[in-house]
């Protein structure tokens, strides 16, 4: 009973307002390491999770809770299939190891809503939308042509911001769903779930 009271008190204190210092007018640089997990039809072709990625954004606080700005990121997807026989459209039979190598760089406008500015732990939600710069390579053996395409990207996101100290830099952790349409070969999209952890750094006071 004593323990549960302590835990309850701890949770309340985490979300309690520590200071009335506002974020309005502040610019923040956010950067985090991102792991991506292919979802839906993308997962049918690229099932390997990507541990090679990052997200970054520069946001301006237009109010205590709302900030807007630019967001970007990078993710590298890779999938290699063991040797298989493929029937080509001209009737040929092709035996090959097929490798997919896909890199995405979204550049988006982003809006972020901080539910409890000033608290020890600050839950937030964000949404970004913009262009997605895609580098795509499907190799049969060592043969393939790299292809560059620009598509649409949207990224709803939720997470926690934990400031190291009042008004200073902080730790961010969260998850996002990356909506990335991409029609090429057997692919329809590059949708993936991202889990990120990194830092938020104020650029000026």
């Amino acid at each position: 009973m004593k323990n549960s009271k302590l835990i309850f008190s701890f949770i309340v204190s985490l979300f309690s307002v520590l200071a009335l210092k506002a974020q309005k007018g502040e610019n923040n640089f956010n950067i985090s390491y991102n792991a991506a997990f292919p979802m839906g039809s993308f997962k049918n072709i690229v099932s390997s999770n990507s541990l090679r990625g990052f997200n970054a954004s520069i946001l301006h606080g237009v109010s205590d809770k709302l900030s807007v700005g630019l967001a970007t990121g990078f993710q590298d997807f890779y999938q290699k299939y063991p040797r298989q026989l493929y029937k080509l459209s001209d009737g040929s039979d092709l035996s090959a190891v097929v490798t997919y190598s896909i890199q995405t760089i979204p550049i988006m406008a982003e809006a972020k809503y901080n539910f409890t500015p000033g608290a020890t732990v600050q839950p937030y939600a964000a949404i970004g939308a913009g262009a997605n710069f895609i580098s795509y390579d499907r190799l049969f053996g060592e043969f393939g042509d790299k292809l560059g395409k620009v598509g649409f990207a949207a990224r709803p996101e939720a997470g926690l911001y934990i400031p190291f100290r009042q008004g200073g830099a902080g730790f961010i952790i969260g998850a996002s769903y990356n909506i990335q349409p991409f029609k090429q070969d057997d692919l329809k999209n590059l949708n993936n779930l991202g889990v990120h952890a990194g830092f938020s750094i104020p650029l000026r006071k």
């Binding site: 990078f74 009737g91 890199q103 390579d137 190799l139 060592e142």
Partner: protein
């Protein structure tokens, strides 16, 4: 302020260190994985109607579409021998080319050479970073190189095996190709790979057989 910039740089470099390593498909590929085997056949051909075959005793060299001679290196002979073994296993009987074989087999090494250019401007632009002018006793000087390009050639090679219909050549007044096997990739011309490469072509062509 400096502390913030330092913190930002630390954060950026930490994240980049994690994420900069794009997994390069070619660097994560063995020679065996780099190779592709392509077979094509005449879907109207009835391979059971062919009983005998003959095979060339040397390999033709084709360079950029031009005939460049014939060779019979030990590798070439290994290839010819491996094809014979595979054909015999499929029920075909080898005869000499003067004995009216039903099928003729040609073997070619196909080379495609292309000329490429390397832009050296970037290389020379940062020359001072590689070789400090102080080393030569002229600190503060810049380097100058006339604009130029480096030229290099790259060659891609393939092995092609063609099976020809000689049985019906007289009646059709044409020597029709009924099967082709093509191998491209790394390590094709390594002797220890010959047997498995030829076998791969036949393994993916189960229709290529006859009843003796």
């Amino acid at each position: 302020m400096q502390r913030k910039i330092g913190l930002a740089l630390l954060a950026v470099s930490t994240v980049l260190a994690f994420s900069s390593c794009t997994k390069d498909p070619l660097k994560n590929m063995s020679e065996e994985e780099s190779r592709i085997y392509i077979t094509n056949h005449d879907s109207t051909a009835n391979f059971n109607s062919y009983k005998t075959y003959s095979i060339v005793d040397s390999v033709a060299l084709i360079n950029n579409g031009q005939f460049a001679g014939r060779e019979a290196t030990s590798w070439d002979q290994q290839v010819i021998s491996a094809i014979q073994t595979a054909m015999n296993a499929r029920g075909f009987v080898k005869v000499s080319r003067t004995q009216n074989p039903d099928l003729g087999i040609n073997v070619s090494r196909v080379y495609s050479t292309s000329t490429n250019f390397v832009d050296l401007i970037d290389y020379w632009s940062y020359y001072g970073g590689y070789y400090d002018p102080n080393y030569w006793g002229y600190g503060g000087y810049g380097y100058y190189f006339p604009p130029a390009y480096g030229v290099y050639q790259s060659t891609e090679a393939a092995l092609s095996v063609d099976i020809l219909d000689l049985k019906n050549a007289s009646s059709s007044q044409t020597i029709k190709g009924v099967w082709n096997g093509l191998i491209r990739g790394e390590g094709i011309f390594v002797s220890s790979n010959v047997q498995s490469q030829i076998q791969a072509l036949f393994d993916q062509s189960p229709y290529l057989k006859t009843n003796p």
